[in-house]
């Protein structure tokens, strides 16, 4: 048997390269993260203490943007717009997030059982997710039109889906659920496929029914997948903008205006008040972080209990 050459002889600079290579791998991400994540975050914090419209020189104005947001100065118009937006966003998060966790799970379980039409069903449910939110809203705008829409035509009703409350919100939930079910469903189908088959078999031998198997095997085995989708869906729901912007234009009477819409309009809506928009984004970001932290703590305590 020929003697194997020592590694150092083949790669004279091996140790050096070995110490450099890992940094080469992570560097693109780190640079992108610094350029597009960390730097904008730090800049946003700095800008939130200024009055700046992107064109004129930045003026330091201390806590004034924050005071406006909390209604401590000014007419209260900014505070009222922002907190109304936050309230509407919370409504969306509280209702839409469970829908986008439970329904995809239900669909995923059904699809996993129906092997014959599995791929077709996955394509059917996943299709809306590949569309942009603007396309989805335009499509639903046609479907939901009170007088000329297909839905009212077939239901033989005159429901003002987009122009009156609470229908405007119902339309947003319908559309968002139709659009979002597919993304989480794909993850759940993959999660279910990863559950070791012997556990199912053992449960079946023990006489466990479908419901029992779901709650005692499927759900615990998919804990991490569910946790991931919960965090991502919550963050996605907090960032809701397109549905309100395109489908309802924030109406009727600002009733579907979300926090992201207020922030966007403050930054880009006309007067380009970037300082104020950044302050709103920071306050809103802190609220989002709080929710994410609570979800995380819930998950950790859940894991500790198990």
């Amino acid at each position: 048997m020929p003697k194997k050459e020592p590694a150092a002889a083949i790669r004279p600079h091996g140790p050096k390269l070995r110490s450099v290579v890992p940094y080469l791998f992570i560097a693109p991400f780190m640079i992108m993260f610094i350029v597009f994540g960390l730097v904008p975050l730090v800049m946003s914090i700095v800008i939130s203490f200024t009055k700046w419209d992107y064109s004129s020189p930045m003026e330091w104005n201390g806590l004034e943007n924050y005071k406006l947001i909390f209604g401590l100065i000014g007419s209260g118009s900014v505070a009222s717009d922002f907190w109304n937006g936050v309230l509407h966003t919370l409504l969306f998060v509280v209702i839409e997030t469970p829908l986008l966790i439970i329904l995809p799970m239900f669909v995923a379980v059904l699809i996993s059982k129906c092997v014959a039409i599995r791929k077709l069903s996955m394509g059917f449910f996943y299709f809306p997710s590949i569309l942009s939110i603007t396309t989805v809203c335009i499509l639903w705008n046609f479907l939901l039109d009170t007088n000329a829409g297909v839905i009212n035509h077939y239901l033989q009703t005159e429901i003002p889906w987009i122009t009156q409350m609470p229908y405007a919100w119902i339309s947003i939930f319908l559309l968002s659920t139709w659009w979002g079910v597919g993304s989480n469903m794909i993850l759940y189908v993959a999660g279910i496929a990863n559950v070791p088959p012997d556990i199912w078999e053992a449960a079946e031998l023990d006489g466990a029914g479908e419901v029992r198997k779901f709650f005692s095997i499927t759900l615990p085995c998919m804990r991490r997948t569910i946790f991931y989708t919960l965090i991502m869906t919550t963050i996605g729901s907090f960032n809701m903008l397109g549905q309100s912007q395109v489908l309802t234009a924030g109406g009727p009477n600002y009733g579907t205006t979300t926090a992201m819409m207020v922030i966007y309009n403050t930054a880009f809506g006309g007067t380009n008040n970037f300082g104020r928009a950044c302050a709103m984004a920071i306050v809103f970001g802190l609220l989002m972080s709080l929710f994410t932290f609570l979800s995380f703590k819930l998950q950790v305590s859940d894991e500790e209990d198990m």
Partner: protein
């Protein structure tokens, strides 16, 4: 040694990653391109038929001025995105435009941020005289006596009608007649006019009526007066069309719902700008079922109507040399003189001499808009917050027509909201 390797590794990685970003960098736009051309970036939001036409005009300009080494690169960006991009790139010399076509109503607000350069000497360069242009368009680009916008077109809101449902002789010329006609025609699934209740064309029709009745959005001190008695009266008229004792419109007409019902033959009238001429194919089909007439009480002696106007503006950060400025002026002059094609795209050219040509007179569907353009007003658009006030007014119109508030409540609330917004904005 280990530490040195780490540093080298990090620098290497940084260099590798940044190399892709460096590739994005370009030249100062004020320097001629490699082939010696003066390149002008022209941004506009014309994304429909008007966009295709503007592309052809730019193409023709580039062919004609190739010998003079001027080239225009047009970039079509949807209006909302255009203003966002303009704000974020105005100080970036590599990507900022030289010329931007925009609505006259946005000029005062954008100018407040100092992003425009004045158009000194442009009128002399073009040989433009005030009497040669539609009055509203000519003054639309002037802020505090300085020209920041040069007029391209005017786009009033006119009244389209379905010829199967109404004859030309029956067309109303006053709003009272309009109501009478609508009441007469409404029934059996047909409506007089399906009034959109969402933020929509209804607000422009309201402004048409408001200015026509002698009202305004702002007074001479820029105080909002769109809740005046005249305004309440006009909005009440619109509201009655939907929610009154003899409604001529269905309720809760959503965005685009009015157009759908009009094209389905369920609505006698439809209000919109001249771009709909192409959507309905009126130029290509003289025997179309659709016609277009001026809005009631919008033309003739003593009448007026509300219109918009697209204007050319020059960016301060990029138009910094005489060569660039002259190239921009050359392009603006060319488009102005070749704006017959612009009429075919569905806009009323601001240059009056175009309207006097035989070929323009043959464009029958644009005639109603042209008539309206001569008596049009753009509103008090030299006020920096006019556009924001217009948006607050739009919500009031929507709230009234949706039946959420009475016209007076809706307009009072909008004025109060706007005043609060201005107070906070001034902090």
């Amino acid at each position: 040694m280990k530490k040195t390797s780490k540093i080298i590794g990090f620098i290497l990685a940084a260099a590798l990653s940044l190399s892709c970003l460096i590739g994005c960098a370009g030249k100062d736009p004020n320097e001629p391109s490699a082939d010696g051309f003066t390149v002008i970036r022209f941004w506009n939001g014309f994304t429909g038929t008007d966009g295709e036409t503007m592309d052809k005009i730019v193409e023709a300009f580039n062919a004609e001025y190739e010998s003079e080494n001027i080239r225009v690169v047009a970039d079509k960006i949807p209006w909302d995105t255009l203003f966002t991009k303009l704000t974020t790139t105005s100080s970036n010399l590599r990507s900022a435009p030289h010329i931007v076509a925009m609505s006259a109503s946005r000029i005062a607000g954008m100018n407040e941020r100092g992003i425009f350069t004045d158009m000194e000497g442009l009128e002399e360069f073009i040989g433009a005289k005030e009497e040669d242009y539609i009055p509203a368009a000519w003054t639309g680009g002037i802020i505090d006596g300085t020209r920041y916008g040069f007029p391209l077109d005017v786009h009033p809101t006119a009244m389209y009608y379905n010829k199967n449902l109404i004859s030309e002789d029956e067309l109303p010329t006053t709003w009272d007649e309009f109501l009478e006609v609508c009441i007469e025609k409404t029934g059996d699934g047909i409506y007089g006019w399906t009034v959109p209740s969402m933020y929509s064309i209804s607000k422009d029709v309201f402004l048409n009526m408001l200015y026509s009745a002698g009202g305004s959005m702002f007074d001479e001190n820029n105080e909002p007066v769109f809740n005046s008695d005249i305004a309440v009266e006009q909005l009440s008229y619109l509201n009655d069309l939907v929610n009154g004792p003899t409604p001529v419109s269905p309720t809760n007409v959503g965005s685009g719902g009015d157009f759908t019902l009009f094209t389905q033959g369920k609505s006698v009238f439809y209000f919109d700008g001249p771009w709909v001429i192409n959507t309905l194919g009126l130029y290509d089909n003289p025997d179309s079922n659709y016609g277009v007439a001026p809005c009631p009480e919008s033309i003739g002696e003593g009448e007026t109507n509300f219109a918009g106007s697209h204007q050319f503006t020059l960016m301060k950060n990029t138009v910094t040399t005489d060569t660039i400025r002259e190239a921009c002026y050359t392009f603006i002059k060319y488009v102005s003189e070749h704006s017959f094609d612009w009429a075919k795209a569905g806009q009323v050219p601001a240059l009056k001499t175009i309207h006097e040509t035989e070929e323009y007179k043959e464009l029958e569907p644009i005639a109603a808009f042209t008539q309206m353009a001569y008596t049009a007003t753009l509103g008090e658009i030299d006020y920096k917050y006019w556009y924001e006030g217009y948006n607050y007014m739009g919500v009031a119109v929507s709230n009234a027509i949706s039946g959420i508030m009475t016209p007076k409540e809706a307009l009072d609330a909008a004025v109060a909201d706007f005043k609060g917004w201005v107070e906070d904005e001034e902090i």
